[in-house]
């Protein structure tokens, strides 16, 4: 996406929104599934989808915007990979807090930011359901347990090279 001219990006976002709407036409209250589908395809949910979806769903743009921005998961900018570091209590008891500090330093970004090369988005997460094997990290949807700083580097290295 990043290589396209802005107008082409807008067109792509709008097309994606229409396709997602069509796929979820049979769902009750389809906005969340639609957003998930858009995010799966574009890596984020661009603001340009709002007027299109408002029109198709017959609700206000403000409402679509409200939903898009309420949920932490619907990202506002693209990134090739997403790294979630758990900061919830059980992982904190095993050094989750220090691991997050390490992740920020190693990637050179604060949590909530994307590395300048657009490769890695670093986010905090409150529990990955892996609380007996912390500290836990999720990379592109896969959970890793007992993550040391060295293991963190290895995990990031694996996705960076692909």
């Amino acid at each position: 996406m990043t290589g396209l001219a802005p107008s082409a990006q807008v067109v792509a976002a709008e097309e994606c929104a229409r396709a997602a709407f069509a796929e979820h036409a049979g769902d009750r209250g389809p906005l969340m599934p639609i957003f998930h589908t858009i995010q799966e395809r574009l890596g984020y949910v661009p603001p340009e989808v709002e007027p299109v979806l408002a029109d198709l769903l017959n609700i206000s743009i403000a409402e679509v915007h409200g939903v898009r921005t309420f949920y932490h998961d619907f990202r506002h900018s693209p990134a090739a990979h997403t790294v979630l570091v758990c900061r919830a209590e059980a992982c904190q008891s095993l050094g989750g807090q220090a691991l997050m500090a390490y992740a920020e330093e190693a990637l050179g970004v604060d949590k909530g930011e994307v590395t300048p090369d657009g490769e890695i988005r670093l986010e905090q997460v409150f529990c990955l359901g892996n609380c007996a094997l912390g500290p836990s990290v999720m990379v592109d949807g896969r959970v890793h347990g007992r993550v040391s700083p060295a293991r963190f580097d290895a995990l990031v290295g694996e996705v960076r090279s692909t």
Binding site: R28, G66, D73, A90, A132, L133
Partner: protein, 505 residues
Amino acid sequence: MTVYVSRDSASVSVGADEVAATLERAGVQVLRTGSRGMLWLEPLVEVDTPEGRVGYGPVNPEDVGGLISSGLLDGSAPGLGLVEELPWMRTQNRLTFARVGVIDPLSPDAHLQYGGNVGLQKALAMEPAAVVAEVSDSGLRGRGGAGFPTGIKWKTVLGAEGPLKFVCCNADEGDSSTFADRMLMEGDPFTLIEGMTIAAHAVGASEGYVYIRSEYPDAVATMRAAIEIARAQGWLGDNILGSDLSYDMHVRVGAGAYICGEETSMLESLEGKRGMVRAKPPIPALEGLFGKPTVVNNVLSLGAVPQILAKGAKAYADLGVGRSRGTTIFQLGGNIARGGVYETAFGITLGELVNDLGGGTASGRPIRAVQVGGPLGAYVPVEQFDLPMDYEAFAEAGAMVGHGGIAVFDDTVDMSWMARFAFEFCAAESCGKCTPCRIGAVRGVETMDRIRAGEDREKNLLLLDDLCELMTDGSLCAMGGLTPLPVQSARRHFEEDFTGKDLAR
């Protein structure tokens, strides 16, 4: 000869996929199951022997070759011995989790072979009101945290008029140190489907939703696959198992909002809206999803139902203590030597769980505190380890059982930091509808920062008390209402961490 390796995401998080792949490359036939819940042994490899399955673990991919040559495949290699004879397994009373870790989660044949659908069949032969009565008589209370009697809820929905009713399963499981919902969905999804189908029959619902948090992609995939299979088997759809029940269900995925575990916020999210908490009344049982009568239950509440129907209310109600009947699934996490899930009757003590079963801390240092019941639950000191796991006993001690999660901390924990974190979490996850929670949480972080920095400590500790009182009394839901619980319990039991010098490190 079959070799079993878990496909549960916790097992995979420490290398179960690599172990399974290494075994397969060596020509071994591997069956992927859920996890037994002994997570400190993962990746655990099990092998059939005439006496039962024997176990090896934790196994690294590098160990596989050596294990095979020393007799893994006939179970003669030295290992853990018979899995079901291990103390952790032998002393449990696995009802809801009976099949988890034993069977291929997506095999309908295995489901039937190991006692699945017996409860459903019984329920379908009964009048809806009789099914509701059975659930009431079992004493089952909601496992999602509040402990509300499930039978009463179902009775309300059954009594509500309307052509369209829903069953919604709350699988948002946002509490730290809870993962039993996830393990059931990944390890035995047909049990949840069965429980929801029984609920649908009991209350007259035709449509169901499982709202799964987005942090659980494997549970989402497994539930979706299981629903497809169940449809093909005639376990969902029209005329289920030849009865006149028509019921179908769908998976919906959350989007990283803890508050969507609160039932009305979850319903808003299911409707495609922001996860803002609704004021009650109306209660969801009468006006729930899209304003229709709706059962909202936790995964473990619904997961207990098939066994209750199969074995009878009395067998279930005979277990437990006081008004906490039956079994529940405790989850040991954090800094613990042996962490995992353990299903047993209510009444076991906190100390038995954490010390006897859990083996104390993973770090080998003394335990200082445990947090029971997730981020809105109290911190409990070692002095209270004789507390029985029982809703009422915990409430009396100023704590809560919640969803049964226990996070262990060793003596390096800084309790004023954990109190600060409770506010930080609330500030990050508040839905923003009411002021005591939205603003109070932010003030709480600031106040804790001042206390930790030693600024006007007396004055700020008083301010902290006032703030906690305000949040407790003035919040619309338990997010703001219970955030003071971890804060004030930390304060009460670990005062020295709030008044000592140089707290901010």
